[in-house]
Amino acid sequence: MEPIIEVTSKAIPLTGNNVDTDQLLPKQFLTEISRTGFGKHLLHDQRYLDDKEQVPNPACVLNDEAYKGAKILLAGENFGCGSSREHAPWAIADFGISVIVAKGFADIFYANCLNNQLLPVCLPANIVDALMMMCSDDPSIEITVSLKHQRVMCGDVMATFTIAAHHRVNLMNGVDKIGRTLQDLSVIEDYEAKYLAGSSV
């Protein structure tokens, strides 16, 4: 997987709190059996006026040409709440986003982002509001998110963020988590043998 170190890009201000995974990727797209191609369905109900995705909704920020090519998404509180469907982060990544800066994330969604090299950055509400304002006023404005320095910068705004050290290292190296866990297979087997013997319960 592609390592993430630092991203500088335009940012899409997606206003509103509690944007859930049903909105991010509605159920009719969950019948796919591959991980790819979900980007065109991202935020389907808001983004298209019709079910066939022929008529874009001009009021939806994802359809605003001015943000084309943005790699950063700005979002509100409790982003990604609801279902565990990883199709939601797959859709966001497939749309071209590599960093989500939000006021808060739901737990499962946060873990799903990390598993897909999508960097979730949690910042205080007033800072996210300031960034949203700047990016709405001038869509060409660029934000820099540095995972290396755990810092978000945009004009006069500079904020640091926290992320667990292991998540940071994994994202910066693009590690295969399963491969890494399997290196400890013998430890798992030892545990299992003891556990099955009933000693640890």
Binding site: D22, S84, D107, H166, D184, I188, Y195
Partner: protein
């Protein structure tokens, strides 16, 4: 001498399953991995691409629930895409030696209904599934939580999961429930109180006299919706109600071995002096049946109260969310829900489709007939629930009252099949999510208990079932 720290039930389950530390994260052993058609194909595909195998197929159980028809047992009933996904599950399970209970099998059902029913879920276990309502299984004293597909693949390949430890929260429901008030009302009231993300970062242990008095079915309803409060998991310490529920189920040890299990399970509780990072107490004795009015489960009121006025809401984010919800739900501030006409009723989902739920809905349904213009369906949670209900004659009661009696599955909880609402439809639903578009684009969902849903079906609008 260092003092031994008092532990919560969650701490104990964590410690018992802790294998090692990998790069600063805990690695937990998983006792049961439940899988279904929607969140597993990409995980199997990932395994196959890397030449990996399901490490413990004996601890992995599959069923079909999300995208199946509730009218026919044909895999093709809901179109070629759903059929391909279902056949992919069959193929993957065969290839990796995983037991699958497909449509038409006596053990098939919604993953969170059939698992406990088969005795596959037992106190002290860790349980995961690629579905956020996995917390349901916490009702049996397990650590159970939903995971995404990458983690499904991780569990398949290693029988472990990487986790950071969550914080401990205890919710005590105290008092005696009045007639017509159910487990669903307790959990909705809790989410209303602490908010849609009030438990983010926590594992909740439910306790208190009202929990002790509840059946396992009721406890499952409560644990199920822990995720709607943002919690990682919800659990209830096992007690005699739990042991009675498990006794005699398939996959549960018999006789002498069962007694040994019970004595082991009895130690699974929080130490009396364990410290919780957060504690919430809810007095249930004055609680009314709950109805959600908005587009997240925290936007809820008692049936006898008006929905909020914007001026009563404190934070701007609450106000903004309420404005948006009023708009989507076509409601005005201060409105009373009991006069609101509904067009659909859904009794089902892993929250409320167990036998006890159907009994309560049938009890109300027997008092009349579904109102003109209302379409009402009852979808049992599993084949076993359906069989039991039919043995008790509940299906006759429902059908005589004008409800449709369907085959088990997730159905209108998420509408991946043809059980889907249209624009502007208003549904009294026993499911767990009232999100925009959840039951269909532009559809309006109000979450209620099974009895309240049945009551609404007969009246054509919400009613306080305590007055029926």
């Amino acid at each position: 001498m260092s003092k031994i720290l008092a532990k919560t039930l969650y701490d104990k389950l964590w410690d018992a399953h802790y294998v090692t530390d990998i790069d600063g994260e805990g690695l937990l052993f998983i006792d049961r991995h439940l899988i279904h058609e929607v969140t597993s194909p990409q995980a199997f595909d990932g395994l196959n691409q890397k030449g990996r195998r399901v490490r413990r197929p004996d601890l992995t159980i599959a069923t079909m629930d999300h995208s199946i028809s509730t009218r026919s047992t044909s895999l093709d009933a809901c179109g070629p895409k759903n059929a391909l996904q279902l056949r992919t599950l069959i193929e993957n399970c065969r290839e990796h030696g995983v037991v699958l209970y497909p449509v038409g099998d006596d053990n098939q059902g919604i993953v969170h209904v059939m698992g406990p029913e088969l005795g596959l879920i037992q106190p002290g276990m860790t349980v995961v599934c690629g579905d956020s309502h996995t917390a349901t299984h916490g009702a049996l004293g397990t650590l159970a939580f939903g995971i995404g597909t990458s983690d499904v693949e991780h569990v398949m390949a290693t029988q472990t999961i990487r986790q950071s430890k969550a914080k401990n929260m205890r919710v005590r429901f105290e008092g005696i429930l009045s007639e017509g008030v159910y487990a669903k009302d307790l959990i909705l009231a809790l989410i209303g109180e602490i908010g849609h993300d009030g438990a983010t970062g926590y594992v909740i242990e439910y306790a208190g006299s009202a929990i002790e008095a509840l059946s396992i079915e009721g406890r499952m309803t409560i644990c199920n919706m822990s995720i709607e409060a943002g919690a990682k998991a919800g659990m209830v310490a096992p007690d005699t109600v739990t042991f009675e529920y498990l006794k005699g189920r398939p996959n549960v040890a018999k006789e002498v071995d069962f007694h040994a299990l019970v004595s082991r399970w009895s130690s699974l509780k929080s130490d009396p002096d364990a410290i919780f990072d957060k504690e919430v107490v809810i007095d249930v004795s004055t609680l009314a049946p709950q109805v959600t009015w908005g587009t997240n489960p925290g936007q809820v009121v008692g049936i006898n109260e008006p929905i909020p006025y914007l001026s009563e809401l404190i934070s701007t984010s609450e106000k903004d969310a309420a404005k948006k919800a009023f708009d989507y739900m076509a409601l005005t501030e201060g409105e009373v829900l009991s006069n609101l006409p509904i067009s659909h009723v859904f009794v089902g989902s892993c929250t409320n489709s167990r036998i006890e739920d159907l009994r309560e809905a049938a009890r109300i349904a027997s008092k009349g007939h579904v109102a003109k213009g209302v379409k009402a369906i009852v979808v049992p949670g599993s084949v076993k629930v359906k069989q039991q209900a039919e043995k008790e004659g509940l299906h006759h009661i429902f059908q005589a009252a004008g409800f449709e009696w369907r085959l088990p599955g997730c159905s209108m909880c998420l509408g991946m099949n043809d059980d889907i609402l249209g624009e502007g439809d208003r549904c009294a639903s026993t499911s767990n999510r009232n999100f925009e578009g959840r039951q269909g684009r532009g559809a309006r969902t109000h979450l209620v208990s099974p009895a309240m849903a049945a009551g609404a079906a007969l009246a054509g609008h919400f009613v306080d079932i305590r007055t029926l």
